[in-house]
Amino acid sequence: MFVFLLTDIFFYIIIFSIGLYIFYVRKTKDILETWKHVFRSRTGIISIVVLSFFLLIAILDSIHIKEKIYNEQTESFSYESEIKSVLDIILLPTYKNYEKSYSSPFSSNLYSKETIILENNIERRVYPKLLYKGNHNKYASDNTANILLTFIISLLKYFFVFSIFYLFFYFRIIFKSKNNIFIPFKLNKVFLMTLSIIVILSIFLYELSLQYYVLGTDKVGVDVLYKSIKSIRTGILIGTLTTIVMLPFAIFLGIFAGYIGGFVDDVIQYIYTTLNSIPSVLLIASAILMLQVYMANNPLNFENIYERADLRLFFLCMILGLTSWTGLCRLLRGESMKLREVEYVQASKTFGLNRFSIIVRHIMPNIMHIVIITIVLDFSALVLAEAVLSYVNIGVDPTTYSWGNMINAARLEMSKEPIVWWSLFSAFTFMFILVLFANLFSDVVRDAFDPRSNKNYE
């Protein structure tokens, strides 16, 4: 049975709006030209492929189901209380078993010694062997050789998949039109390369994590790699959902203030100046603190902890959105004020077009570039902010998988002797990759869309 969490629904809406936007762009020639500028740049293509991959993981992780179980005693079907995502089901073989405690990456035993009683009643302090992974080499007994062989096998698997796809394209092209059969290779070298690297890496990591804890295990023995992958959804949700909450406020209030002016302008300006004057961390902190009190005193009836954690994530995005629309609103106000005086807007006014139509037809399309630049710029900042907020205990629910929570837990681990570094390392690596490509992408987008950007020097 499918389960729709609150954030899931909003995430589908986001995906749907991205789809709508792509549809719109394909029909609109001048915007398509601008986007082609993004696709022509090497950085642009690489970051789009990487970000789409992250997005795909987040989508897979947002389709939740409850499994049906057959109860033999009552002879009826019932649903499990545990909610799983499609991603969980794909990754199930890699994470279903928990170890006892910490173990370092690729190791075959636990990280700390334990007393074990041998057969002849002698107590000995040893590193206990891991139960589920680390001692189950598939291809060779030596670890390095095994990893190498695994890599070769995942390469072979990749080529197998790739050749099927290639054949598919090949036949399609042969039968549909009399094109050159090598066209698929001409698609785009950078695009193919990036895609191949990502696919090979993910197959390799999957194969590896069937045999090892690639990034070790955490305090309760959960695979850290699994945790980091699960955190992708949280990061992406915070980056995108917040913008969805923020956009209506920023766009409508900004356009009304700029285009209508007068008293409306004064009121809207007052609202955003007031909100903007409060240092944002303090504003977010106070809002979330109050939410926490509210949730503690009014224990709403949630079916399970998933929904509770989900609601908190949703409220976090709401609050971040409500506190961050002011900057965009001010930009849009200025731009629509400028547009109000432009000749074609004046002309349509003389032709008797009403305000609403002017805003939809002339103002909206001409401020969209600012909106897009802001969305992609804000995304990386929000992903980073999540970690900081979780550190201050005003971020996501402690049970939610998130990089912020991992880093928070890692602070204690770092002071252990010898230190447990892999949790911190993997949280940062994943976060770094996502934020880096988001930043590179936003650079390219800004260059393409911003008429003021220094194109000559990029």
Partner: protein
């Protein structure tokens, strides 16, 4: 000029009232004082008397807006709104939920915050501008390209990583400076070096890129072309023309955050155990001491508005074309 400043200060009053009303709504209307008290006392098995006495100790035992049981002016004065919100306007921050005088604490903790924030700002400014000038000098070459990529990479690392990594590398492995703590007077230096260093490193990525784009904007202007066609060397154009004119946006960008330096940096201070206003706020958030959070919101707003006024004034000082009316 004086008129203008006076006008700006007058304009700040409605904003402050707005902020005040907003925090009041957040902290007292969304959740009643009783609910907050219940949270502090531990949710279950709390008697009404306990809540009463908790509220009484902290002065939350009044009605929100009108006190019907009093007479005269006290109808308005003996209310939460007057006691907790209006009094902020006379900088009377009251006592925190744990019973300490907030105003005293703020005065004490302001200076350690400033001791970190000011050096970080100044050193960071110098380093960022140097890098930016360097990249602009080599603009549209490999050096510039790699430099920008490097800046983007630096920007993409979470601030927490710089702090945790820096503490581990410099304090734990190399043992150059103590991991955390603070001392009065000159001894403070050894505690301040690492946080300042980390703040500077953290700011390099975004700072350098920002200044670089400011310089590049300037370099396209006509007066630069004129200077070049006069035969001036690239270096002298860069320093005498581009740098000087780009200083205007740089300076105003710095002035606006000057007052906010008192608030300190939340994360850095709490990681390094520096008794500044940043760690004060974090502690208050973590222990849910709402009186402090309220006071800090108000203080932060005042400082921000003050920064904006200073920015306008500094515009007139550095750019003779700007006249304030």
């Amino acid at each position: 000029m004086i008129n203008y400043i006076f006008k700006r200060i007058l304009y700040a009053i409605p904003i402050l009232i707005g902020v005040n009303l907003l925090t009041f709504t957040l902290f007292f209307v969304v959740n009643s004082p009783d609910e907050v008290a219940r949270l502090h006392l531990g949710n279950k098995r709390v008697t009404q008397e306990q809540i009463q006495s908790w509220n009484e100790q902290r002065g939350y035992n009044f009605p929100l807006f009108f006190n019907q049981s009093e007479t005269g002016l006290n109808v308005i004065k003996k209310t939460i709104f007057y006691e907790k919100s209006v009094k902020l306007f006379y900088f009377d921050f009251g006592i925190s939920d744990s019973g300490r005088d907030i105003k005293y604490d703020i005065k004490q903790r302001m200076w350690p915050s400033l001791a970190i924030a000011l050096p970080s700002l100044l050193v960071g400014l110098m380093i960022n501008i140097t890098f930016a000038l360097f990249f602009v000098f080599f603009r549209a070459t490999k050096v510039d390209y790699i430099g920008v990529i490097f800046c983007v990479a630096l920007m993409s690392i979470s601030s927490l990583f710089y702090i945790i990594g820096g503490q581990y590398l410099i304090s734990k492995l190399l043992q150059l400076v103590p991991i955390s703590g603070y001392a009065q007077g000159v001894d403070a230096i050894k505690f301040l070096i690492l946080p300042v260093f980390i703040s500077v490193i953290y700011g390099i990525g975004s700072g350098t890129r920002w200044y670089r784009s400011l310089f590049l904007e300037e370099i396209e202007k006509d007066y630069v072309k004129t200077a070049k066609s006069k035969g001036l060397s690239e270096v002298s154009v860069l320093f005498n023309h581009v740098f000087k004119n780009a200083l205007i946006p740089i300076l105003t960008g710095v002035v606006v955050i000057l007052p906010l330096l008192f608030l300190g940096s939340l994360i850095v201070e709490s990681f390094f155990g520096i008794p500044g206003l940043g760690s004060y706020t974090i502690d208050a958030i973590q222990s849910q001491d709402f009186a402090i959070v309220r006071a800090m919101v108000f203080l932060g707003t005042i400082l921000y508005i003050f920064g904006l006024i200073l920015t306008d004034i500094s515009y007139t000082l550095v750019d003779p074309r700007v006249r304030l009316k």
